[in-house]
């Protein structure tokens, strides 16, 4: 059995102390026992993590119906070419994009602001942090059911408040933009506090010397924020953007439960890719087509993450060269 620190190479004396040489079977066990520690995780991982992911690509090349999953007919790229000509797919892609932007941008900007405030010396620091994280404790389903009530067209609180201010009732279900705002607001509510804490953690790991130096140069709070905090946070920001993008790509529960409709509104006006995949698979029972959508989502995520990483690297190189 060889123990070693993960980062530093093992000192030579440690590998094989003479008195612990042991018999051949014992030595064999020493070589293989680490795998025993990995076995539980990797068995499950292979069966329920990796296999489904890879097999999705395979399924997407067949016509498979939910009622007869054993009966697979080869379609080649038929499912993908069908998607290209499928208006609802493009609509779902567009909705995913617009809802993604509508939910991610305000969420991260507000989170950044909140983190900045939380980074001050505060009374009741713990309370404030815990309280803004509260929405994170709710499930998509619970949050959406509550927001669906608040956004009700006839009896909803939001329209009532708008009415008090003199704004006509908004049709939060059937209007394209309004319904997407409604869906986004649920996402924003649930995740802003979470991201604020991530940013806060990032801010706290920025070396103080940088602030001290900036303060000595007479930089104001705002200048400090823009010239010390933001650059220091870049890796964290990139990370949250990536994670939020992935989250937005697979948005599902919010659009499903806003009206309880699998089509994401009567004109599919807020149907996301995640929901469209579900509709194809478990609404229309076309598992093969649903798999093709899943695979497209996967590629989309890979591309988005790649683009993000690229931009991040460019920018930091540019700044390093400055």
């Amino acid at each position: 059995m060889t123990l070693t620190a993960s980062q530093a190479p093992a000192p030579p004396g440690r590998t094989a102390p003479p008195r612990r040489r042991g018999s051949a079977p014992r030595r064999a066990w020493r070589t293989f026992s680490p795998y025993a520690y990995l076995a539980p995780f990797f068995t499950l991982f292979a069966a329920f993590g990796l296999f489904p992911l890879v097999y999705t690509a395979y399924v997407s090349l067949y016509r498979v119906e939910l009622q007869t999953p054993g009966d697979m007919q080869w379609r080649g790229f038929g499912n993908y070419t069908a998607l290209l000509g499928d208006e609802y797919f493009w609509l779902a892609l567009r909705n995913t994009f617009t809802i993604g932007v509508l939910s991610t941008v305000p969420q991260l900007v507000m989170a950044l602001g909140l983190a900045h405030l939380l980074n001050y010396r505060l009374r009741g620091r713990t309370f404030l942090r815990t309280a803004i994280l509260l929405p994170y404790a709710t499930s998509v389903a619970a949050a959406t059911l509550v927001f669906a009530q608040l956004f009700g067209s006839d009896f909803g609180l939001v329209n009532y408040v708008l009415g008090v201010v003199g704004i006509d009732p908004v049709d939060w279900q059937n209007d394209t933009v309004a319904s997407q705002i409604a869906v986004s607001s649920i996402v924003i509510w649930r995740w802003t506090g979470y991201n604020a804490l991530i940013y806060l953690a990032g801010m706290q790991s920025i070396p103080n010397e940088l602030y001290e130096a900036a303060a000595m140069d007479g930089a104001s709070r705002w200048r400090q924020f823009f010239h010390v905090t933001l650059p220091g946070l870049r890796p964290t920001i990139v990370f949250t953007v990536v994670v939020s993008t992935i989250g937005a790509t697979q948005l599902f529960g919010e659009p499903l439960l806003l009206e309880g409709q699998i089509s994401g509104g009567i004109s599919h006006q807020y149907q996301t890719l995640g929901l469209y995949m579900y509709e194809q698979g478990w609404g229309f029972f076309h598992l093969g087509r649903a798999a093709a959508i899943a695979w497209v989502m996967f590629l989309l995520i890979v591309v988005l993450v790649g683009v993000n990483a690229l931009i991040a690297r460019r920018r930091s190189r540019k700044e390093a060269g400055r």
Partner: protein, 312 residues
């Protein structure tokens, strides 16, 4: 299938080039080391800052308050203009109704079984694997770790079709193990425990036990687990909350006759019950357990999230 917790520590591979400041202990907790780090941040919050923060707290809390209001009223109250803003007298009646009509009781029990099993299993599997990755040397370690970390960012939703075909093949549709077993797979957890053990378990400790002739299994139970316990607790907390709130996969794999809380809520939202105040009572019941955990352990959850974040 517990996606939402994965993000926190995933920044590690994304940004390995920027090690955070501070000693390992400070990194782990996400708090600045006492004393030393305050200098640059002694800015006291002004009234504006407090106002904005309190506003944020109110926005965070309002939907909870409103759920209680709606759950304690009647269908007719909710169809009134102006809407009611204070709690009414019907809370117990609505609880009874939703327990009767939607079998929320069974859903709560199922969720407890599912989330509890996933939490225990995940913490165990991840600690074992995390230990191996952190402290044992074996062939293919780098590759296996890379695969684990690499898939951390991939949403499990994407593998849902074959997974469904798999459980259909096994005859597991509408059975709890269909949700529990896939829920045990947490690449994030393995990575989290590995990082934790790399930082908090000195090699000398293991070395000393090894010299005393302790087997690896013995070392794991009597040295690794005690040291890892705080990390396991944080992982357990995050896993429990994520498992309780998981939506997509349970909705696919289970139905209303064997629901988790989230499946029951989806059912409630689909016109299963006609009375809106009863629906809100169900929502409240389904959220209470996590709120309870949050109330007791909010600080640790905050710490866990921030700690995961700074790991990168």
């Amino acid at each position: 299938m517990t996606a939402p917790i994965a993000p926190a520590a995933a920044s590690a591979p994304a940004a390995p080039a920027t090690p955070p400041a501070g000693d390992p202990a400070a990194r782990r907790t996400g708090r600045p080391r006492r004393g030393a780090s305050r200098a640059g941040r002694t800015l006291h919050a002004g009234p504006v800052a407090y106002t904005i923060l309190i506003l944020a707290v109110l926005v965070s809390a309002f939907p909870f308050y409103w759920t209680i209001v709606a759950a304690s009223r009647s269908n007719a109250d909710l169809a009134q203009v102006p809407p009611a803003l204070l709690p009414g007298p019907n809370l117990m009646r609505n609880f009874e109704a939703v327990l009767e009509e939607a079998d929320i009781g069974k859903a709560l029990l199922n969720s407890l079984i599912v989330s509890g099993s996933i939490t225990l299993g995940t913490v165990l599997c991840c600690t074992l694997a995390g230990f191996a990755f952190a402290k044992l040397r074996f062939r293919g370690r780098g590759a296996l770790l890379a695969v684990t970390v690499g898939t951390m960012m991939i949403p499990p939703q994407l593998g849902v079709i074959p997974l469904f075909m798999l459980i259909a093949e096994l005859g597991w549709v509408n059975q709890l193990q269909a949700v529990i077993l896939p829920g045990l797979v947490s690449a994030f957890g393995v990575f989290f425990m590995r990082q934790y053990l790399v930082q908090s378990l000195p090699d000398e400790l293991i070395e000393a036990a090894r010299v005393d002739g302790a087997s690896t299994a013995r070392i794991f139970w009597s040295i690794v687990v005690p040291v890892a316990r705080p990390g396991m607790a944080v992982l357990g907390l995050l896993t429990f909350m994520a498992a309780w709130n998981d939506f997509f996969w349970p909705v696919v794999a289970l139905t209303s006759s064997e629901p988790t809380v989230q499946v029951a809520l989806r059912q409630l939202g689909g016109g299963y019950v006609h009375d809106q105040s009863v629906i809100m009572a169900g929502t409240l019941l389904g959220t209470l357990p996590v709120l309870l955990v949050f109330g007791l352990l909010g600080r640790q959850i905050v710490g866990g999230i921030m700690q995961g974040a700074v790991k990168g």
